[in-house]
């Protein structure tokens, strides 16, 4: 047992990565699905074990091949990485059982096993990003997860998805290349790729031009991956055209993990050495975050398609996350970290329910969803509950985030920012209301038959819906975990 326990950090990453080629060899959709479910559940168990095993204020280290850390590649799991590991593997563990029926309807039969192979590959890449302590290793995992998500988006029957995926490929590759340029500049100046070592050695070269350019390249590159306004144009197309399972999975994980990387670099690597305030990094982020929440929320209100509306709402919610980063205090960062989780859970629930609607109606166009509550009562009710969390109504997960965001803004003395957070929540109430109005108040067209989504899809979706409410009332793990994660990020590698 001891032997396995020592190797949990690498097992976390390597199991999904190994499952991918195995699935390709199996070539059988059902077996592939079973293996995917098994791997994602085991991953979730490992992530939880690691989450509770992280020592207070410390980290779990794992040295690859026993090469000591600055020389070899090392993994370092502290409170922040463990939080992200739990988030990613939780979403994978819930989406995997859901995938079978949704994929059966939206992807051609002979590609099913390939879908599962890409899915576990993407999970492995995302987990690797969170676990690694090496800047270049991080890039490789970033590309593993990105390349597999391009395939996942384009794997469906919708021809729009091909172009959406191509756009994402171009933007994502520019983002990753910018990141690697930044890392290259840092490597030139410090001679190391180990993040902890790099943070330390930056003290010798702190405000030199290559280091400042590295900061710029890494921030812009990761902002592309995060879909921070105005670099978000790939996101609505990609999420709305992709198969529903993929939208659900990516909305909860892909951008969130990139946010984690950005936090890591801003607070742990550059933070202790560079005068980020004087460089106006946070000022710029505040402006972009406000633009993201206001503009994207307004755009979301006027969408005619449900999935597209959810995608624009994602861009707006990312604005809240970056706002928390921009406020640069403990409460703000806590709000950001906990919103990774809260928004992840909420958006996954919404996209999974939308997947049920796609399965039964074949479309998520608002006009065809008129009177949906009579045809799919459980789906619509779940949608409303998760929608409340999206708005940030008290007793929902979204409220916890908004509370900390407002507190952080007030601590900075930005009372107008606090007011703005509340005002943008009202805009999100508008687009959630549009769904309520369509589903409950409008008369259905044609005959009314109960066509509730199958249980295999409803149950995972409802687990997430219940989580939206549960984590709004009981914040023991999500909030303390986020607070510890925020502290770990700000403390850096000491």
């Amino acid at each position: 047992m001891r032997l396995i326990a020592d190797h949990l950090p690498i097992l976390q990453v390597i199991l999904p990565l190994l499952a991918a080629p195995l699935i390709v060899l199996l070539r059988n959709a059902t077996l592939a699905w079973l293996l995917t479910v098994a791997v994602s559940w085991v991953s979730f168990a490992i992530a939880l074990t690691l989450f509770f095993a992280v020592p207070d204020g410390g980290a779990i280290y794992y040295e690859m091949g026993n090469w000591p850390m600055p020389i070899g590649i090392g993994y370092r799991i502290d409170a922040a990485s463990a939080y992200v590991l739990v988030l990613v593997s939780l979403i994978a563990a819930v989406v995997a059982p859901y995938a079978r029926l949704s994929i059966a309807a939206e992807v051609e039969r002979e590609r099913h096993y390939l879908f599962y192979a890409m899915f576990v590959l993407c999970v492995g890449g995302l987990l690797g990003i969170a676990a690694t302590n090496d800047a270049f290793n991080l890039f490789v995992f970033l590309e593993i997860s990105s390349l597999s998500s391009y395939v996942l988006i384009a794997i469906g029957k919708n021809r729009r998805a091909f172009h959406a995926s191509f756009q994402y490929l171009i933007m994502g590759t520019i983002g990753a290349t910018f990141y690697i340029i930044g890392v290259g500049l840092l490597y030139l100046m410090t001679g190391t790729l180990n993040l902890a070592d790099m943070a330390e050695r930056l003290s010798a070269v702190e405000e030199t031009r290559p280091v400042l350019s590295a900061l710029a390249f890494i921030t812009v590159g990761l902002s592309l991956k995060i879909a921070l306004f105005p670099l978000h144009f790939w996101l609505p197309n990609a999420y709305s055209c992709a198969p529903s399972t993929v939208s659900a999975f990516l909305a909860g994980t892909a951008t969130k993990v990139s946010v984690y990387v950005l936090m890591r670099f801003i607070f742990s690597v550059f933070g202790p050495r560079l005068p980020l305030e004087a460089l106006h990094l946070f000022d710029a982020l505040i402006v972009l975050s406000i633009a993201a929440t206001v503009v994207s929320s307004l755009v979301a209100v006027f969408q005619t398609d449900l999935k597209r509306m959810l995608a624009y709402s994602s861009v707006a919610q990312i604005g809240y996350i970056s706002l928390g980063i921009a406020l640069n205090n403990a409460d703000g960062l806590t709000a950001s970290v906990i919103h990774l989780f809260n928004h992840g859970v909420t958006k996954v629930a919404l996209f999974m329910l939308a997947g049920g609607i796609v399965l039964r109606l074949g479309t998520t166009n608002f006009d065809s969803m008129a009177g949906l509550s009579r045809r799919m009562p459980l789906t619509t009710f779940g949608f409303v509950l998760a929608g409340l969390s999206l708005i940030g109504v008290p007793a929902s997960a979204g409220f916890v985030t908004k509370w900390y965001l407002v507190m952080a803004a007030l601590e900075r003395g930005h009372w107008w920012l606090a007011a703005l957070v509340v005002a943008t929540s009202l805009i999100s109430a508008l687009y959630v209301w549009r769904f309520v109005e369509t589903a409950y108040l409008r008369e259905p067209v044609g005959e009314v038959k109960r066509v509730e989504a199958p249980l295999a899809m409803l149950i995972p979706a409802w687990i997430m819906v219940i989580a939206c409410t549960y984590f709004g009332l009981e914040t023991a793990y999500s909030l303390t975990g986020a607070q510890e994660a925020a502290m770990a990020l700000m403390r850096g590698f000491k």
Binding site: F136, F139, V140, E143, L147, Y150, V151, A154, R159, R160, F162, H163, S165, F166, L169, I170, T173, I174, T177, I180, I181, G184, L185, Y187, L188, L193, T304, D305, N365
Partner: protein, 119 residues
């Protein structure tokens, strides 16, 4: 610090900007991928060029050789090349599927064909 002493960086920046320009200015999907490839290749240069020491040998510890080039950038870029190849291959595969679905690889024609349909 003159242009001459840093010509490696100048070459890298020029390639990078050429690549990015093609990406932005061209609507043809294949040309976009060519631009992307040039853009990625410029980064290989950023890593490789500073690793070379003038007069340096391969990293062999022996009395005859005093200075040697840093081997790590080569290893890193070997990995980056693999990533780059995978990206371009996937991009080209997507272009094939786009061509099958739309009969065109010009971005504006693709958008036009989609906008005609119900959103």
């Amino acid at each position: 610090m003159t242009v001459g002493s840093h010509y490696g960086y100048w070459a890298m920046m020029t390639l990078m900007i050429i690549g990015l320009y093609i990406l932005i200015a061209r609507g043809n999907l294949i040309k976009k991928l060519v631009g992307l490839s040039i853009f990625q290749t410029s980064v290989y240069l950023l890593y490789i060029a500073p690793g070379k020491l003038i007069g340096g040998t391969a990293p062999i510890i022996a009395e005859k050789f005093g200075i040697y080039s840093n081997p790590l950038p080569h290893v890193l870029i070997l990995t980056a090349i693999v990533v780059g190849v995978a990206t371009i291959a996937l991009g080209l595969a997507l272009v094939v599927r786009i061509y099958e679905a739309y009969g065109s690889i010009e971005e504006d024609e693709i958008i036009e064909k989609d906008s005609g349909l119900e959103r």
